[in-house]
């Protein structure tokens, strides 16, 4: 599904990702854990195609399709979805309009029919209810004035509506209280499917109590320095990142 080989990424003059390789097969959830500054957010932004994140070497593909040569919107149409650590506020654009525009742009890029307004509203009502999002909130400008928890729920709603193949969750647990964490995690778990891959990027083990990973990778100094089963997350929680940070340095 997702295959990353020897990826090198530079932001400005600084190389942040230094030869990262990672495979996430379809149907699996992989966690990437690491200390601050290891390159976790850089990895997620690089996969989504953020401008000024310059890939200097390596490859990243989804189902054999090269991602790095594609524009961010083309990557989205191919099924890449990044849940932002800090979702942006979009003044003046109601959530409903934003989502319908995004969904239809993806359909158009894939040569599919547009989703009609009634079909769209029916779908979004159901998915919003499952995430305990008040429908009225979707008529307000997207994320403007929303709490941290509301923004993260909106991210999951967008994910549910756009139905991506690769889900990248960048520090989705940051800023969430325990109730919001549960709602968000349930939303993510509902999307687990044999034809989807998930990359859960997190500093803390806490989120992984709710979203159970199949594999855990440790990212330090721009490389994967250790991989293992879910027990690796607990080990990190107990022992910290020190030994990996030293090993990488």
């Amino acid at each position: 599904m997702l295959s990353i080989q020897n990826l090198h990424v530079r932001v400005g003059e600084t190389e942040i990702i230094k030869g990262l390789s990672l495979d996430v097969p379809a149907g699996e959830v992989h966690a990437v854990m690491g200390p601050n500054g290891a390159g976790k957010s850089t990895l997620s932004y690089s996969l989504a195609g953020r401008p000024s994140y310059e890939v200097t070497a390596g490859s990243a593909s989804l189902n054999g399709q090269d991602l790095l040569s594609l524009d961010p919107s083309e990557r989205a149409a191919k099924g890449v979805f990044l849940s932002f650590q800090y979702p942006l506020e979009i003044p003046g654009v109601p959530g409903l309009t934003f989502l319908r525009t995004a969904l239809n742009a993806q359909h158009k890029a894939r040569g599919e029919d547009e989703v009609t307004a009634p079909a769209f509203l029916k779908m979004i009502r159901e998915k919003a209810a499952a995430l305990k999002i008040d429908f009225e909130m979707l008529k307000r400008p997207l994320n403007v004035g929303f709490s941290g928890g509301e923004k993260k729920r909106m991210e999951i709603l967008q994910m549910a509506v756009l139905s991506p193949r690769l889900l990248i969750l960048d520090e989705t647990d940051s800023g969430l209280d325990i109730d919001a964490l549960r709602i968000v995690s349930e939303g993510v778990n509902a999307m687990r499917s044999p034809d989807r891959a998930m990359l859960v990027i997190t500093h803390y083990q806490r989120l992984l109590d709710y979203i159970k990973p199949d594999r855990v990778h440790v990212l330090a100094d721009g490389r994967i320095v250790a991989s293992g089963g879910p027990e690796l997350a607990h080990e990190l929680e107990a022992e910290g990142y020190d030994k990996y940070a030293k090993a990488a340095a």
């Binding site: 195609g49 961010p72 149409a77 979009i90 319908r100 995004a102 742009a105 756009l162």
Partner: protein, 349 residues
């Protein structure tokens, strides 16, 4: 110094030039070496951008009213909505018109004014004298759709009597040189004025939105929000002046102008002026010129919205704050669809 005077007398020295402080960003003298010949008379079919909103129309074709006069006096009787159309279809010629409008005591009138230009390189002048009697209400929506190489100056003088209100929204895509000017005498207590505007300029277009509101009596309220964007080598001018005369205590005036520059060679010149000669007033102004939020653009692109569409959507959202202030539902819908069509953004914003 005015375009109208220059056209009437065929004397280019009467044109405003960059030496006139109020015209320094909208020089006409340097643009016209001679006064172009008079435009031909044309037939104007019913219609215009507000055709679906109101039945009554008064249409000027190349400056002439339906009975062929360049000058007409109009008193509006009773409440209602009127479409006032200035239709140009000319090539390298010139025309001018003068319209007087009165809103009678206590009446509520909506004026849907459109500038509909065809042809090229013409010069048009429109002067409008508006008087709103005591307790009258006038809403004026001005939609300007002119060719890229046309020159247009529209000047409105608005006198408001006690308790009268005036709400104006100008929407324009500019022209070769274009000025939409509104000068208002505020009636003070019980009266209120809104002076909004939207400019959407591309290529080498120019538009100048100039307003002046004079508060001569106490306790008047004025609110102004002008927003717009420039791309290509376009140039927008905003000159907003609010004068609070001696004795006009208790005046409450807010002025906001916010522009987006979407390309390196586009330009916005803004001159917000508050001239206050009274004590105890609440006057505020905000003026910003900036670029689109690139982080928000990336966010939209990451959801599958192509870059051009994302930029259009965010630009449209930026100016829609002004359009949303239009209370007349039909006019608001027309304005919203017009903005969406200009920017090619989503139709449900």
């Amino acid at each position: 110094m005015s375009l109208a005077a220059a056209l009437r007398t065929a004397d280019v020295t009467k044109l405003p030039s960059r030496r006139d402080e109020d015209w320094r960003w909208t020089d006409l003298r340097g643009l016209l070496r001679e006064v172009p010949p008079a435009s031909p008379q044309i037939e104007v079919a019913e219609g215009g951008p507000f055709a679906s909103v109101a039945a009554d129309e008064l249409a000027y074709g190349n400056g002439r009213s339906p009975n062929g006069a360049e000058y007409s006096s109009l008193t509006m009787v009773g409440d209602g909505t009127l479409r006032l159309r200035f239709v140009s279809d000319a090539a390298a010629t010139s025309h001018s018109s003068f319209v007087a409008i009165a809103v009678e005591e206590g009446d509520t009138v909506t004026l849907l004014e459109s500038y509909e230009g065809k042809g090229s390189a013409y010069v048009a002048s429109v002067e409008i004298a508006i008087e709103v009697e005591a307790g009258g209400h006038l809403t004026r929506i001005v939609l300007v759709d002119e060719p890229a190489d046309a020159i247009l100056v529209s000047e409105a003088r608005v006198v408001l009597h006690p308790g009268a209100t005036f709400k104006q929204t100008v929407l324009t895509t500019g022209g070769r040189r274009q000025r939409i000017e509104t000068v208002v005498t505020h009636p003070g207590a019980g009266g209120s004025v809104r002076m909004d505007g939207v400019y959407l300029l591309g290529d080498r277009r120019h538009a100048d939105i100039t307003t002046e509101v004079t508060h001569a009596r106490p306790d008047g309220v004025t609110s102004q929000l002008v927003k717009g964007c420039v791309s290509g080598q376009a140039r927008a001018v905003f000159q907003g002046r609010i004068v609070v005369a001696q004795g006009a205590d208790g005046t409450d005036a807010k002025m906001g102008h916010h522009g987006l520059i979407l390309s390196e060679r586009a330009e916005i010149d803004a001159k917000p002026e508050l001239e206050i000669y009274a004590d105890d007033v609440a006057c505020a102004h905000g003026n910003t010129v900036g670029a689109l939020d690139e982080e928000a653009i990336f966010y939209a692109r990451s959801r599958g919205i192509p870059e051009a569409e994302a930029r259009a959507m965010l630009t449209q959202a930026f100016v829609s704050e002004v359009v949303d202030r239009i209370e007349h539902e039909g006019a608001r819908d027309v304005a919203r669809a017009w903005v969406a069509a200009q920017l090619r953004g989503p139709d449900d914003l």
